[in-house]
């Protein structure tokens, strides 16, 4: 099927100084016209953010806020550190560090917990493994708030993804947002919270509805098929880690039906687990999508199209 020619096939775009200048907002809140956004694809040179993006991202991964300190943004760095580590610490206290004791004995290994959301906050994750690990090696009673505590440590790891993205973006450019286009880290955070919300903020309303319907629908269907047993991290440690990326819908569902008991054989529990987990994993694709869209709009890069990809591979 022949598709319509995209803007990549059109003659070379006009120079940036001839296009109507959009308003960009830099880190200081000042308005400036730096580069025209898509659909006119002009590869603009972004203004420097003041550091190596990879270093800033890695530092934030190790210690939330460290990337911002490296970039000289001490205030934001301190805020991120207090919030992200505070959530993790609260989770550790509530769970008494027993979050990884959910893992069955045969699943306990050095790298097994690395498949949990906590790994998004690497420093705190290593601290937990060093100080608590898998416990004393024998079964013991779980503390009353273990479920909430384990959810908070996982939440800390997932939220730190947005902090990493923010530090990385700040190192790349001083552009923070433009009219109608949220910054990439904000779009990613919104998608982490609710699938499709990032697209909605970007003005891509149809896509937002499609993404929300597909992902939340798949998660709900999986939960129904598994009769809510998928909402227990204790029962299904790894599937739970995947579905946690659905965001608030998963957290709310767990809060409401997370203690469902198993009284009989559940015919489609496996399908339900896979569905809910796949919904969360696919939300990472949605996060990359919103990041790429905001990035293209703010930096004046061409939008991603399958047509352009086919042209390149040809």
């Amino acid at each position: 099927m022949e598709s319509e020619p995209s803007h990549q096939q059109k003659p070379a775009p006009a120079p940036a100084d001839r296009a109507p200048p959009p308003v960009f907002i830099d880190s200081g809140g000042a308005r400036s016209a730096i580069a025209p956004p898509s659909p006119v694809p002009v590869r603009a040179v972004p203004s420097k953010g003041g550091g190596d993006p990879t270093v800033a991202g890695l530092l934030s991964w190790l210690i939330p806020g460290a990337g911002h300190l490296y970039l000289g943004q001490a205030g934001i760095g301190l805020f991120c550190f207090v919030v992200i580590q505070g959530i993790y610490l609260l989770g550790l206290k509530l769970s008494d560090g027993m979050g990884f004791e959910y893992l069955d004995l045969e699943l306990r290994s050095l790298f097994a917990p690395a498949l949990s959301p906590e790994v998004g906050n690497l420093g705190a994750f290593v601290y937990q493994m060093q100080h608590y690990g898998f416990g004393p090696g024998f079964a013991r009673p779980y503390p009353e708030w273990l479920r909430l505590g384990a959810t908070l440590t996982a939440l800390s790891g997932v939220l730190n993804i947005a902090v990493i993205v923010h530090a990385h973006w700040c190192a790349r450019t001083s552009i923070r947002a433009a009219t109608g286009v949220p910054a990439p880290y904000l779009a990613v955070l919104a998608t982490l919270a609710v699938p499709g919300l990032g697209h909605w903020l970007q003005g891509r309303r149809q896509r937002a509805v499609v993404v929300f319907t597909l992902l939340v629908g798949l998660f709900v269907l999986g939960t129904v098929l598994a009769e809510a047993t998928n909402l227990s991290r204790e029962r299904h440690f790894y599937y739970w880690s995947g579905q946690f990326l659905v965001g608030l819908p998963a957290i709310l569902a767990e809060a409401m039906w997370g203690t469902a008991s198993v009284k009989r054989d559940i015919s489609y529990v496996d399908a339900g687990l896979v569905f809910a987990c796949v919904a969360g994993m696919l939300n990472t694709l949605a996060m990359i999508d919103v990041y790429g869209f905001s990035e293209s709009k703010l930096l004046g890069l061409p939008l991603r199209t399958s047509h352009a990809t086919a042209k390149v591979s040809a």
Binding site: M1, S3, V210, L214, F275, S306
Partner: protein, 66 residues
């Protein structure tokens, strides 16, 4: 037989989400993404059907336990 149909329906549901998100990721603009969706979905289902046939053939021949 009804169990098999249900399995196929469930597979199509999860395939819908996988291909839908893949299409969203592949095309940043809604128009091309929507136009490409049916072709991508059919290709995905066709590929999976082919894989299933190959697995069944292998199961009946070289990997047969009978």
């Amino acid at each position: 037989m009804s169990g098999m149909i249900l399995h196929i329906v469930l597979f199509m549901v999860v395939a819908l989400a996988i291909v839908g998100l893949g299409t969203c990721y592949g095309d940043a603009e809604d128009g091309p993404a929507l136009r490409n969706f049916p072709r991508r979905f059919l290709m995905f289902m066709g590929g999976c059907a082919l894989l299933a046939v190959i697995m069944l053939v292998l199961e009946q021949t070289v990997a047969s336990v009978h």
